[in-house]
Symmetry: C2
Subunit: 557 residues, 2 copies
């Protein structure tokens, strides 16, 4: 009997999951909310772009969640903690933490504990939007290949934007920090007892997707480039890392100190850290030909292509990074910057309702046919991440009459996110990446059958649902099982581990041909608006859009 | 001492107003709701386009409202009913009634009283949309000049569409009807005791705006044209009328029978009937250079141009008819098909709120600056009547984020209607009609100071408010005073009567230059959307619209 532990550091809480290596069954799980701030997030009432997190909360949650999960697992006959053969960790990203020369976060010292810039800069912190635009501009001019793999736009959510913003606005923090470590790399290093930032094993996942790292150009961006931003950033490069690693490498082994704290055997391997959705893709059984959609407040789409073939740049796709998800494959990441958040906005902000209203609107909207409301929306309330890569786009709703209801609009918003999903799938396929199956994970995929059917009808893809409700933590546990290896009860490689430990739910959503035909027509109209407002088509004829919507409505009713 | 009586037949009720001819002061008023149907309207649960009204309700309301108003007026010392020197009547239109050869509405007979097609076809009945499209098509091919003065589109709300639809769907009613009389003409004829439809004095207002009547082509459409629709319509032409009249002509004098019923002197003149908003324009002091806006659920804009100069066709303007408002002038009518209805839709249908929510949203929206929400809307929830003349256009809202509130959208919808108003004003001015002042009447103008200031800021025009809250009835009373003439205590002409009897409220709304500058920029964006979706511009570059909205928002906040 062998078990692995998967740790998932989410936006508001951390989850520990104990997994049986034989079949991936989940023995025990514990979720610990970060105790600080507002739902774990430190905010600035004067700047709604700011989102930070206290690193102490991560350590508190690490110990508490693991101890609780192990205690729960111990109720199972046959389980004992010394059968745990490895640990995997995923986290949000890019979430960089300023640390001292011993890899201790500055915020753990009294001097810095209340300083916002000394905390972890959470992925959704957007204070660095000016720096992001400047990095995009300078890279476009001097290093266009740096941003060609990330849709030609560097994001305010990413590593260099945030550190540069810290340097500009809180230089005392920048100067006090010896180095910066991504949360995905930090937790494995803590467990491994690594006390030198340069010795922290860095994952290719965060490095490649967020920090402009690539083997092709010798790792991190060259110092000349960084000096164009600020000479101090060039100086920092020497205190970061030379090489980042895929999931074939261990981040280290469990150090005696943390082994004792957690009640686990010292010396077991700790997998390299990956971003949550990437381990989520593994936990959902990603392989070539499969698109995994992690569906929540926003959506992240992951796919892989074998690294022995060259892969083209795909315009408008967030990132194509070798080794980022599965070793031996290019990891392709795309996403929609708001999905569940748009429905939440409509129900809670505009309609001033709650969960009961979500249910009522779902019921009313489900009674309609495609095109039946005459409405069409653009899903850009939080910008467009893929395929336009433009955070300055906004939402739109079209086709209202004096009879349009809140349920009509609710459905139109769901359809708009499905059209956005289709645009991503089509773009990826257009560049030669095959997508034969779509596997969805996350709360929306589990709970919202109405939405899932619309996604199937709009995209023309059968929508499967990941067998685990904790796909990210499960993926981390899979990585740990691979690192531990077959001799200890793990696996020799990812395909065999995934085959044994991950699954698909029996339910799936199959496109209904009649709805597909209607949605093909609506999608054509969506693309007209998408291309016109997104700047793809600068001489658009939109004169027929409203009339075509009315014709579809008359046909549906 | 001399008084006139103004009768205003609205959509749900009729109003009688007793006016002092010296200064237009309103001695007494009585409103009677039509007793039948739903708020006075007969509906068909299977067809929401249908809206009819029982003619008996008009006669019931006539007697009751006048008797009540006179009783109320009699409380004023010095008033007696024999001092009433004339009666004026306005009504909704086109609202044609099928009558027998004695000018009695079919619906007053037992056989027809419950037959929907035998009732008055209320202005907002849209059952005839197919016939309207067919009339437009045939006229465009064979008689383009017929529709050139009504924006090149014949409406489903108008005379011939309705009668043709009756002929097609209820031929027994068509066959039983000797003739058809507009409500505006019917009530004056009743008061005058006219018992022959061919002897009914027809107003140029309804004839010219709704029935394709013009002196230029010999009155009503020729029989050859009507025969292209249906030979029976050509046959009907002989039983309608040869000539229609402006407000210099009387519809007749009060017959003894109705004089006795109402308690008024027999023989006093009855003014020619006009449509409500046209007499409303007179009651608001319309003259050359003045635009009168009647602002309610929808908006009607009226202006006049001296008939001794030629007036150009104005593309997209509902109607340009000689003598339709003031004698000796072309009457120009434009309008927005939904204004108050859009706010009502947002608050009541989408937000599921009531009057209190209107007040709350007004307060929240009033705290914002122009452009502050980043939103832009199109005011087409009920199509676009002017200047695109396209009922198949629909609403749009653009620029939403995850923080957009219901108040933001409420304000954007108000601004959208103001942009629509500006488009009309600019179109009229572009064709050489001067607009030096705007006088608003109706509930919105009276009650919504927040909206009125936005209209001033958006249009750049000072918005005045009509002195009377019953501008339509007052205008009818003015027409009666002119017909009665100075010898009986009335006036020699409209200008002198209007000068004495109409007024402007002391409050007015002056454009604020700072807001105007912002709204000029927003209006430019509105026109980009307007022209793109309205089909004016078939190669639109909309790529900058959302970004410009964000820039304006950032500037405002």
């Amino acid at each position: 009997m062998a078990y692995t532990l998967g740790m998932d550091y989410g936006t508001n809480s951390v989850r520990a999951l104990v997994v049986d290596c034989r079949d991936g069954s989940e023995l025990a799980t514990s979720v610990v909310n970060y105790p600080g701030g507002n739902q774990g997030i430190l905010l600035d009432p004067l700047d709604h772009h700011l989102a930070r997190q206290h690193p102490g909360d991560y350590l508190f949650g690490l110990e508490k969640s693991v101890v609780e999960a192990l205690a729960q697992a111990a109720k199972h006959p046959g389980f004992s903690a010394d059968q745990v053969i490895g640990i995997g960790v995923d986290a949000t990203g890019s979430s960089p933490i300023p640390v001292d020369e011993k890899n201790v976060p500055l915020a753990l010292f009294d001097r810095w504990k209340n300083v916002l810039a000394a905390q972890c800069w959470l992925w959704k912190d957007h204070t660095s939007h000016r720096e992001a635009a400047e990095i995009t501009r300078i890279a476009a001019q001097h290093r266009p290949h740096f941003i060609a793999k990330c849709g030609n736009t560097y994001s305010s959510e990413w590593f260099w934007s945030k550190i540069w913003h810290c340097l500009k606005t809180a230089p005392e923090v920048f100067d006090a920090a010896y180095s910066w470590v991504e949360l995905t790399d930090f937790i494995p290093a803590v467990l491994a007892g690594v006390s030198d930032p340069k010795a922290v094993m860095r994952g290719i996942c965060a490095a490649g997707h967020k920090a402009l790292y690539a083997e092709d150009w010798g790792g991190l961006p060259d110092k000349d480039f960084l000096a164009m931003l600020d000479p101090k950033l060039a100086g920092l490069r020497d205190r970061l890392y030379e090489t980042a690693h895929d999931a074939t490498k261990a981040a280290g082994t469990l150090c005696p100190q943390w082994a004792a704290k957690l009640g686990l055997p010292a010396g077991i391997p700790i997998a390299i850290g990956e971003m949550d959705v990437h381990y989520g893709a593994i936990g959902s059984g990603v392989e070539e030909g499969v698109l995994v959609k992690a569906m929540g407040t926003s959506t992240c789409d992951c796919s892989v292509v074998r690294a022995d073939k060259p892969v083209a740049d795909i315009p408008g796709i967030c990132g194509i990074v070798k080794g980022a998800i599965l070793p031996g494959y290019y990891g392709i990441e795309a996403g929609q910057s708001a999905v569940g958040d748009i429905f939440k906005w409509w129900v809670e902000v505009v309609c001033e309702g709650d969960g009961a209203l979500h249910a009522r609107l779902t019921q009313e909207a489900a009674a309609q046919k495609p095109g039946g409301s005459g409405l069409l929306a653009l899903d850009w309330n939080n910008g467009n991440r893929t395929i336009l890569v433009d955070p300055m786009l906004t939402g739109a709703i079209l086709g209202q009459t004096l009879h349009t209801t809140r349920a009509d609009i609710y459905r139109a918003l769901i359809e708009a996110t499905a059209f956005g999903a289709r645009a991503i799938i089509e773009r990826i396929k257009d560049y030669g990446v095959s997508i034969n199956r779509v596997v969805c994970c996350g709360g929306i995929a589990e709970k919202n059958a109405f939405l899932m059917q619309i996604y199937a009808d709009v995209t023309g893809c059968t929508m499967q649902v990941s067998g685990s409700a904790q796909a990210c933590a499960l993926g981390a546990a899979v990585a740990a099982a691979v690192l531990a290896g077959p001799a200890r009860g793990g696996y020799a490689d990812f395909p065999s581990a995934q085959k044994a430990m991950t699954s698909i739910k029996p339910i799936c959503y199959t496109p209904k041909p009649q709805n597909q035909a209607l949605y093909d027509q609506l999608y054509a109209l969506y693309r007209q608006l998408h291309d016109a407002f997104g700047g793809v088509n600068k001489s658009a004829d939109l004169s027929g859009v409203m009339k075509k919507l009315i014709a579809l409505k008359q046909g549906a009713n």
